[in-house]
Symmetry: C2
Subunit: 397 residues, 2 copies
Amino acid sequence: MLAGHYEKMLQNKSVIRELSEFATARGKEIGYENVFDFSLGNPSVPVPEAVTETMIRLLKEENPVTLHGYSPSLGIPSVREKIALSLEKRFGVPYRMEHIFMTSGAAGAIAHALRAVTVPGEEVLTFAPCFSEYFPYVNGTGAKLKMVPADTETFQINFAAFEEMISEKVSAVLINTPNNPSGIVYSAETLGKLAAILHEKSEQFGHDIYIISDEPYREIVFAGVDAPFVSSFYENTIMCYSFSKSLSFPGERIGYVAVNPACSDSSKIIQMCGQISRETGHNCPASLIQLTVGEHLEETSDLSVYETNKKLLYQELKKLKFTCVEPGGTFYIFPKAMEEDAKVFCKKALRYDLVLVPGDGFGCPGYFRMAYCIDTKKVERSLSAMHTFVRNEGYIK
Amino acid sequence: MLAGHYEKMLQNKSVIRELSEFATARGKEIGYENVFDFSLGNPSVPVPEAVTETMIRLLKEENPVTLHGYSPSLGIPSVREKIALSLEKRFGVPYRMEHIFMTSGAAGAIAHALRAVTVPGEEVLTFAPCFSEYFPYVNGTGAKLKMVPADTETFQINFAAFEEMISEKVSAVLINTPNNPSGIVYSAETLGKLAAILHEKSEQFGHDIYIISDEPYREIVFAGVDAPFVSSFYENTIMCYSFSKSLSFPGERIGYVAVNPACSDSSKIIQMCGQISRETGHNCPASLIQLTVGEHLEETSDLSVYETNKKLLYQELKKLKFTCVEPGGTFYIFPKAMEEDAKVFCKKALRYDLVLVPGDGFGCPGYFRMAYCIDTKKVERSLSAMHTFVRNEGYIK
């Protein structure tokens, strides 16, 4: 009498995990420094020292009963308030405490946002390429996730396909900019057009359509790239943020939902998130972690390594004649494979100790993802492996 | 197009929260030290100093990229292994790492356990009096929670009522010993009888019936009381543990699921918990917190204050002629109200700045809960308020 739904999920092996396990095993043979592991999106730079100092200070100075006490179910009020005011200051949108709900990272934020605004039978649209975990988040609500095919020229939105797919059943559109896996940042033009279509369709269908905006890479934007703030374009935007990448804090599971104050139900959606938590037993992120990020909202780890790595890789990939859109942020790049089946291509790459992830799992077959959140020295050494790979396999002469 | 299910939940106000808000407001008028607030089950003693020292050491000495890095979805393996071996050593049940899943407290543990072994349409039974949050946990699975009426003589299990209510539809029985709100510890006789009935019924119905054992108060057991280990009585036991009370760590949201190794599907259930997390976006508890508790599995805060408080209160309540079963653990006591409607009784108590919680929310009308996780000095001062209350209101002469 086990729940068959979850039992079945056990059969789907994660390609990324398998690749990462290969990398670990191979590392034991030849030394991990010789495995060019581009499989995992784990930050490679440390949390800022000031964050560590804050944690130590809280542990030494605060009353432990209060410090480790229960957080209210929506999050610690002082932290929620600081987040709201920081967002207002930075992006000009008048968030207040009642628009913020503390979560266990962006994963928790997206799962809560989806449950608040979708019901079984509805549809959620997202745009390829995208993070594969969107499927379980949407499945958990009883709604169905449909993926709009990619615009592989730019990795902005394929609006022709989108307009064909958007129907009365759609309650939310899930976007991710800067994007995993493409590294692309949606332009103001893209966001403006998306908002215009959603306004028109909301009116036509007679119900709200929400944008759920997954923004864990918001602080990783490269020089000269404009990263417009999604909520400024569309009232019914539910932003899902994580400190995992900006503060190199992924294991501490901390992020938030911020509902645009212009959204008609903004504070009600936040209250509903608290009810959703009651059912999932999720409750709050750890109190110590909430208090800590509350003191470092406008700081980040030294993220410059990602831009350095991007430059090196992008240049080399172009030199090797890969088709590739230049990333505007994140620590991912998403070139076209040099043969039709990216899975075959990535399998061959393993012979050269290059661990690349086929794009199929991101809804974009024929492409592959490289996560370059690794040492720059290793990226440099990987370039000649890349060169040997494409030459030896006959992809270039 | 908000999800009506969660919108509706907003209308149910929490009685405990309202009482606690009253206490806070009244505290501002007359000083919180003069409000005898027995409403909330928040630990009143600090985390052991050694725990704080461990956290500071980890922060100072560990590589921050590893320390704050992603935990595998089932939890950090070294921590899971230590928990398994500690349980084996203490209780003689041969747990291994594959039987342990790290969660955000007992809430997360129960919600995961329920989702693993129940499907929509099934029933879960629990025994009054019980923690009111069991309802949302079960509702979240699509199953239905039914509460077996209390045996108010002993607050052990009302087996006559249980045998009438157990049907083919029942997939799990949710128990809580030591018990919130009664403070009672189930005896070996109770657990033996429960196991015997479940064995018989599993056979009769041709499917497994699980015990989901909610054990956050396991370490708070008073002198001379025997607290038998539930899993030793029944193979299909899924234990849900929390460090919230034992280490006074509730805000840090840390606990685990431990499936009895004798359960036929034990390691599969743990794997399924990982899949359940994918849908709820819950993922793991914070890495730093996991690593910390892993080093203090067999320690507790100084819990002696709870026993001191219990003695004081129990003696006084008996002296005042309350009907009351003596607690064997926890920091709760659950006397019979001195008029039929405990809500009216508790409302009158507020006039004396006594904040008591009516038993209705725990499925046991006519009784009330006192959470005595407060300063002993305040408990002492509350005794005369209690005396004045029952005398002035004419309950005793």
